[in-house]
Symmetry: C2
Subunit: 337 residues, 2 copies
């Protein structure tokens, strides 16, 4: 029995290529006392992973060359030598880009598959959902009646931001990269309006979509969208800065927007990382899980099949090719027929 893994083979300069990853068949892990052996079902692919491929000082250690790529996972426990888990349990963890893992269960959380599909623990009810919740409410301080703009609006985080904004009484305006994605967020997710960031008249389109200006801009991408929003800020506007995915493959780093609109509007840009806000997880689940169960808060998954497909799917995600929360199905999900 082998454990297929995807390891970081080379640090990318610019956009990652398949050669930056090595697909390696390692011996399957053996289980020790106190450990839990699990088989990965879903691997989450997220933009933050691009940063971990760089050898740069940042908020988290880079992935070492030769190490398995980092990543959130949903797995099934195959054998447990720890009293808190038993075979057949579903767990969410950070097992990375591989088929198997065995370790003490530090950081593993058991999932109840009757609450929501287990894959949602990597999306709408997992880290991306919590990111949306914290960024919109704790950092962005969105209030009923305000206008919230979110970029990467059809993505794992953006889709939750806009729907939460609506549920909180805000006007929700999405920015996405294609007509299909714009249609999706307005028709399926109930956003009030959507604008394509490829629209050459982006600024005018956004202005038309935000007749009362912008109070909160939830920033996932950087670049032209942020430029356009800066000209539409209301007094006291907040820009929770969650990601700048348009820049992750770009060196030297491009400049940012001129900051005079922050000054004249007493507005702010505030970076945040979800890892600082895990204490909000219970409040998030209490509030958001019922909306997911009732269908008031919808989600879309973009699932690719098999670990070998992960590098190409990841590369595509950085170019905006995914449509919905990007997951890799590494082994069959026994809860889905």
């Amino acid at each position: 029995m082998t454990n297929r893994q995807i390891r970081l083979q080379r640090r990318p300069s610019g956009a990652p290529t398949p050669d930056d990853f090595a697909i390696v068949d390692s011996p399957a892990p053996t289980i020790e006392d106190g450990h839990v052996l699990r088989r990965t079902i879903y691997l989450s692919l997220d933009p933050y992973m691009r940063g971990r491929m760089n050898d740069a000082r940042s908020y988290a250690k880079p992935v070492a060359l030769g190490d398995v790529m980092v990543g959130g996972t949903v797995s099934e426990v195959v054998e447990s030598r720890h009293p808190s888990f038993k075979a057949g349990d579903f767990v969410v963890g950070m097992d990375g880009w591989q088929q198997w893992a065995s370790s003490a269960p530090t950081g593993l959380q058991r999932l109840d598959p009757t609450v929501a599909p287990i894959s949602t623990a990597l999306g709408v009810l997992g880290m991306p959902g919590l990111t949306a919740y914290v960024g919109l409410l704790d950092i962005g301080l969105a209030k009923s009646g305000e206008t919230v703009v979110v970029s990467a609006a059809s993505g794992a985080v953006g889709a939750v931001v806009g729907q939460l904004a609506r549920l909180k009484g805000c006007r929700a305006v999405g920015v996405a990269g294609s007509k299909d994605k714009c249609d999706y967020v307005t028709r399926d997710l109930g956003f009030d309006a959507a604008v394509s960031h490829r629209d050459p008249a982006l600024r005018a389109a956004l202005s038309a979509a935000c007749p009362d200006g912008v109070d909160v801009y939830f920033e996932n991408v950087g670049g032209v969208v942020l430029e356009a929003v800066m000209g539409l800020l209301n007094r006291g506007a907040r820009i929770p800065l969650c990601g700048l995915v348009s820049q992750y493959n770009v060196r030297p780093l491009p400049p940012g927007p001129n900051l005079i609109p922050l000054l004249t509007n007493r507005a702010r840009i505030q970076g945040f990382l979800v890892m600082d806000h895990f204490d909000r997880y219970d409040a998030f689940m209490r509030e958001v899980a019922p909306w997911v169960r009732s269908g008031e808060l919808r989600y879309r998954e973009d699932i690719v099949e098999g670990l070998d497909a992960a590098p190409q799917a990841f590369i595509g995600m950085l170019e905006g090719k995914n449509f919905g929360k990007l997951l890799v199905r590494i082994s069959p999900d026994p809860t889905r027929q």
Copy 2:
């Protein structure tokens, strides 16, 4: 008797020139019932005035073409037909670039010349001092033990920021435009270090001056200083955005810094305007006035003589030519011999 005034004659494109201003001898104002007639002693020159010369939507109305330039003033009451004021009173107000004014005393505040020199009502104990206080403490949330960097460090606002930071137990690092100004803030004002923004190795010099990184950057100028600071931010750093004077004459507006350091450091840039914080004036005076009287908080004035000198002094200020709080003495100060 005439009232010499300086009016906005033309909207500047780029740096203002003397021809943008008109020096006009108008009839002196006459006093009406309920009004207070006063003679201007000091006119304050401040960077915000450059913004008012543009015909652009901003936080305050532009000065209309042909109108007297806006500005804070300290004056002596010559005749009063209002019960709250009497001849000989000193008042601070917004009478603008002119020798005389008469109006109902809305917005006029009486000054006690025994508390501090009356000119300080335009500087260390006036709007610039309050700007420093609010920006450092309410927006920047500076705490003892932190490192505070301030640009335009020898200016009216910056000098107070650095000294307040020291008085609050912070490390204070100034950025200024000449060796004289750097020497002044370290030797005379007690800053821990100072760096010239003309230093070609600015980033390295700033890094050496901030061995523990930067927790608060009080931003007055923009451009290369902000770029350099962005690479030195600590986790949770705050950047109160008070001004961007290096850009006020520049069109098109230059880009800003890349924002990835805000993300990785969970840091923020927050614009503010002192006019939103006048409710902090009493607390500011209670805390800061005693330090000014005791000499623990020092200030420097750069006084030019005569209203006619105001345009050139203002033009020079935007290039960093002043050294200390820039004032125009329009008529003799009877409290100074």
